[in-house]
């Protein structure tokens, strides 16, 4: 921080210096400003990388890549994910109860649906361009990138809490709204609007009422109804242990991502890998534009950017296995879990936060 302060002070002046055998160089306030910004991004990234959350993920990833026998029992992983969904939904509801409802809530939900439905088209074109992947698999992957990863969202909220940055509580509801539209876009990309997509009423029900969405939205409404008094009653359960539980969950996610990387590396070429890095950045830009248009706070902007940048690995893979069984699950699961999720967790979120702060003045 001392370095940054120093840079700020110096940036008011123009310094001149000369290398022994070189022409005169000028360091303008502009360059100092950029240096300070870069240092800030770097400091934020290092700070994020050294957090228990990311280090837990790294431990799981390393253990898995080293073929350790460390595993999480299925029931434990399920219980932890239920806890996290309940806690994040509840806290979002309390925040809405505290700050009230305004028209931005409805517009944010609409923006989430539009983003979720639009991003698969961008992802589809980018993936075909970078890797030349066939239409079926490209559409299946694209569906994942329009939908969201709730764990990435939780990690972003945790970063905001750690920095004392507030956000709109209803972003939890936006996350839920962004789960499903991307699946329809992906199926449309396969059938090109022709009748015959494999969406039946049972699949609709499974997508819209999948356990994650029901719990997230349900807890959101409980938090909204009970407000701060409700939070005080269960505070010791859903606030204090939250980060510790998140660390455990991300340890498991690291194991899962590592397994995905090991098993799926043959399924991905350099073009697909590049897509797994570039697409979240492009998605985050779409999210940022929407956040600025809606006038969201810095925290809200980060969360919408993160949602737009993340790729699903829970709801969409299950839907794709039913609706597009010919698509190769190794491709979309490896990209989503093995490439984009680690990228967002380690580099993406600090990058999006810096951009969000710069663009919203937060």
């Amino acid at each position: 921080m001392a370095l940054l302060k120093g840079a700020d002070e110096k940036s008011r002046k123009t310094l001149r210096f000369r290398f022994p055998s070189a022409p005169l160089f000028q360091i303008t306030p502009n360059i100092y400003g950029r240096c300070a910004k870069m240092s800030e991004i770097l400091a934020l990234a290092i700070d994020n990388l050294m957090s228990p959350i990311v280090l837990s993920f790294a431990l799981g990833l390393a253990a898995s890549l080293a073929r350790s026998d460390l595993t999480f029992p299925e029931a434990a992983a399920k219980a932890i994910s239920l806890y996290l969904l309940f806690a994040i939904g509840f806290k979002g509801g309390v925040s809405v109860a505290d700050h009230g409802v305004d028209v931005t809530l409805g517009l944010s939900l609409l923006a989430g649906v539009v983003l979720s439905a639009t991003l698969p088209f961008v992802a589809f074109m980018l993936l075909r361009l970078l890797s030349g992947m066939d239409r079926l698999n490209a559409a299946a992957v694209a569906g994942h990138y329009g939908s969201i990863s709730i764990v990435t969202f939780v990690a972003a909220t945790s970063v905001l809490e750690g920095r004392g940055i507030s956000s709109e509580g209803y972003m939890v509801a936006v996350a839920a709204a962004m789960e499903a539209p991307a699946i329809l876009s992906a199926l449309w990309l396969v059938t090109r609007g022709e009748k015959g997509g494999r969406m039946d009423s049972q699949l609709w029900r499974e997508i819209l009422l999948n356990g994650s969405i029901v719990l997230l939205v349900g807890a959101f409404f409980i938090g909204w109804i009970t407000g701060k008094e409700g939070l005080e009653e269960i505070d010791s359960f859903i606030v204090a242990p939250f980060k510790g539980v998140l660390c455990l969950f991300l340890l498991d996610m690291g194991l899962v991502a590592g397994r995905g990387m090991r098993r799926g590396r043959k399924a991905l070429g350099p073009g697909s890998l590049a897509f797994g890095i570039f697409m979240p950045i492009i998605g985050s830009i779409f999210g940022l534009v929407a956040a600025l248009a809606l006038g969201l706070s810095t925290g809200g902007a980060l969360l919408l950017m993160t949602l737009s940048a993340s790729a699903s690995y829970i709801a969409v893979p299950a839907a794709m296995r039913v609706a597009l069984p010919e698509a190769n699950p190794s491709i979309y699961l490896t990209l989503s879990l093995g490439v984009t999720f680690p990228f967002n967790l380690t580099i993406g979120i600090p990058l999006y936060l810096t951009v969000a702060q710069a663009m919203t003045g937060g």
């Binding site: 899962v256 829970i314 839907a319 039913v322 069984p325």
Partner: protein
């Protein structure tokens, strides 16, 4: 002890397809079956493991049913309509059961 001929059908299928398969079996009049969790495995689509599986799109289950030999084709037609395009294995083995009236 008196035993009777029967067919044991084992269908290992993606977890996402489980309810569709059991619905199809019930519509075909096959009301008795057992669903078993499958720990892990490897096949044409690569390795998979139940432990720590968060994706819901990659796990497998096994649906086992025992049926009278004359009803086998009906069951297989119903099951095949569901599993045709999906990852999985369908196998049929001869077996003996004690209480024939239950199948």
């Amino acid at each position: 002890m008196q035993t009777h001929d029967a067919k044991r059908v084992e269908i290992t299928i993606e977890r996402a397809m489980q309810s569709r398969l059991t619905n199809a079996l019930q519509e075909a009049g096959v009301t008795g079956y057992t669903i078993l969790p499958v720990y892990g495995g490897s096949g044409r689509s690569g390795e998979w493991e139940r432990s720590g599986d968060v994706t819901r799109g990659s796990g497998m289950v096994q649906v086992v049913c025992m049926i009278r030999p004359e009803r086998l084709d009906e069951l297989l037609d119903a099951a095949f309509a569901v599993v045709e395009n999906h990852i999985g294995v369908v196998s049929v083995v001869d077996c003996q059961v004690l209480r024939a009236e239950r199948f």
